[in-house]
């Protein structure tokens, strides 16, 4: 073993993380080579120094501050955040959608121009996207419309908010009864609330390509990408710079309408080899009903307090009631935020997708399974042959006038030669 190789393993050796034959090889080398022994000692001391750093303790107010921040964010988060994020998500993928549409058009145009009867799943480089354009189209949801309907969806939960802005004195309005169909056993406006979560890990040949496809599928289903990060293996890279680096891993958290959940899971699964897939449903009806009735109780309390307030005589009384009132309102707001949050979770199910580079297999253009690739290659070659004959036919047809001229010239020459011979 060379020193350099040994050097690469010294760190793991210190941690006892080397598998047996390697560990012994390193040990033997270090015992025999004073240089590497010194190196090892230096590393050991380095590790020790780092580990000797004193623990820094958080400020005593840490968890209190955190709670306050979380409360504030829960209130804020239930309002505009969803719409904002969705709006951005829709915009970010708009160019991809546009390219896909153009690609579809070009693909269709090319196909009809060439006029071959062969059907191919991918029509060359632009066809890769075109394929997805077609898939999105098939699901009956044109990609371009995604942005608009997204914002509609996201705007819905924010509506009740307008009633409680500015500390208006009127009690907060309960949810509109007409919004939900009636169900037995539950208050008329509450249906069963089930949150669907999915988790999918897929090994793919080309992570970057798969990443775009996932985004496309999600967009097609009128969902959005809530969170994403891509890694080159060394460091995370910003999504915008994805093209410049060889991406090895990508993680996405996507939200799709409950109805599209299974279809989206299936489509993402088709991008490569699924190594993990799980789905779970969490029934939050009980919590929803509880929270809802707590809100109603508090609202009654609020109304009572307002009544008392109107009868209060002294400043002290008014202040006390005011205090109580603001506490009750704070609670109402928090619980309503929770209800909206639950609603949004139910309306949009969450899928966590992780894409990993398939190891050992070099990324092949187009992706897909072996059979699919063979079939595609077969079709491509077949089409190439068909194209050749097609081109040959066109060439021949185009050559006919030239051939005619040539034949006439040849005929004249031949006739002239024969005439001269006869004379001679």
């Amino acid at each position: 073993m060379k020193c350099q190789q040994v050097c690469e393993h010294l760190s793991a050796y210190i941690d006892g993380a080397l598998a047996e034959p390697l560990r012994r090889a390193v040990e033997e080398h270090v015992n025999a080579c004073p240089r590497c022994a010194a190196e090892l000692e230096g590393l050991r001391r380095t590790v020790k120094l780092v580990a000797s750093l004193q623990k820094a303790e958080p400020p005593v107010t840490f968890s209190r501050d955190l709670r306050a921040a979380l409360r504030a964010r829960a209130r804020r988060g239930a309002r505009g955040a969803g719409a904002f994020r969705t709006g951005l998500g829709g915009l970010r993928w708009a160019p991809v959608a546009a390219i896909a549409i153009v690609a579809v058009l070009v693909g269709v145009g090319l196909n009809s121009m060439v006029g071959t009867s062969l059907k191919s799943p991918a029509a060359g480089p632009p066809g890769v996207l075109a394929e997805y354009g077609r898939e999105a189209g098939r699901s009956g949801e044109p990609a371009a419309a995604g942005g608009a309907s997204d914002s509609k969806l996201a705007a819905a939960p924010t509506q009740p908010d307008s009633s409680q802005g500015g500390g208006a004195l009127a009690p907060t309005v309960p949810p509109l009864p007409g919004e939900y169909p009636a169900t037995g056993g539950l208050p008329a406006y509450i249906t069963h609330k089930v949150i669907k979560n999915g988790d999918l890990a897929v090994r793919v040949a080309d992570v970057q390509d798969a990443y775009r496809r996932v985004a496309f599928v999600v967009d097609g289903a009128q969902g959005y990408v809530e969170q994403s990060s891509v890694w080159t293996g060394e460091e995370p890279v910003p999504v915008e710079k994805m093209n410049e680096a060889a991406v090895k891993t990508a993680m996405l958290v996507v939200r799709v309408p409950g109805g599209a959940f299974t279809r989206v899971m299936d489509e993402i699964g088709k991008l490569g080899r699924v190594v993990r897939r799980s789905e779970s449903g969490q029934d939050v009806t009980q919590e929803y009903v509880d929270t809802d009735s707590r809100v109603r109780n508090l609202q009654r309390q609020e109304a009572r307090l307002l009544e008392i307030m109107s009868k209060a005589a002294t400043v002290d009384e008014i202040l006390r009631v005011e205090n109580e009132l603001s506490r009750v309102r704070g609670d109402i707001e928090m619980l309503q935020g929770r209800l909206r949050y639950l609603d949004s979770l139910v309306a949009m199910s969450t899928i966590q997708v992780s894409l990993e580079q398939e190891q050992g297999v070099p990324p092949l253009p187009g992706g897909g399974h072996l059979g699919e690739r063979m079939w595609r290659a077969f079709l491509l070659t077949g089409r190439a042959i068909a194209n050749f004959f097609y081109a040959l036919a066109v060439f021949l047809a185009g050559s006919v006038p030239v051939l005619v001229v040539l034949a006439i010239v040849a005929g004249l020459v031949w006739w002239g030669v024969r005439a001269r011979r006869r004379r001679a």
Partner: protein, 208 residues
């Protein structure tokens, strides 16, 4: 309520949005996460902000936590993402060095005077000197290297846990950690913190 429940119960409740239960988790992990942030950014104020951000994001993302890794590892993953984001953002707007001079409005250059947090007896001062040097050494690493060193040697995560927390393979963790420690060793050797230590140059003789 609920704060002295076992961890998985706290996690389950927090996932349902129970702030009380989540506070229990925060209290259990705040030291570790704060310490991690502190060693990564090097000052208390930013460390506090960053640790807060870690817990806020964890609370928001908890529904995505499926219990494949331990909660601690998962939390470290969130922390790693938050810290890396922050460190990357910061690289674009570098922190003022304490060694740089401070230019007053009159155009005079003043040396910065930094308050020494705990001036004590001699050996304590010396130990503090070493601590500061070590911290500076860590901060001289790239964000990714800093992270592996802190996760391993300060937070004490195993290679497996680090691989989960960083979303990379164990092999990558190993080689990254090796490189990080190697460059740290060079820095420390330059500051004469290691005593006598030779360099393994790699072009050395071949041994069986």
């Amino acid at each position: 309520m609920g704060v002295d429940l076992p961890e998985d119960a706290l996690v389950a409740r927090s996932r349902d949005g129970d702030l009380e239960a989540f506070t229990g988790l925060v209290e259990a992990y705040q030291s570790r996460i704060y310490n991690l942030a502190f060693r990564l950014v090097g000052n208390r104020e930013d460390a506090g902000d960053m640790a807060q951000e870690v817990f806020i994001r964890a609370f928001m993302a908890l529904k995505g936590f499926k219990g494949r890794a331990s909660f601690s590892t998962w939390l470290h993953r969130v922390a790693a993402n938050v810290c890396l984001d922050e460190l990357r953002r910061r690289r674009r707007q570098p922190v003022t060095s304490l060694d740089a001079t401070y230019r007053t409005s009159d155009g005079d250059d003043l040396a910065r005077q930094v308050a020494d947090p705990a001036p004590g007896p001699e050996e304590l001062a010396e130990r503090e000197e070493v601590q500061r040097a070590v911290q500076l050494g860590i901060r001289s690493l790239t964000p990714a290297h800093r992270l592996v060193v802190v996760l391993r040697d300060i937070q004490g995560l195993t290679y497996q846990e680090m691989s989960q927390a960083l979303g990379v393979s164990v092999g990558t963790v190993k080689s990254r950690l090796n490189r990080a420690r190697e460059s740290l060793r060079h820095t420390f050797a330059g500051r004469e913190l290691l005593g006598r230590a030779a360099v393994c140059s790699g072009e050395g003789g071949e041994k069986a």
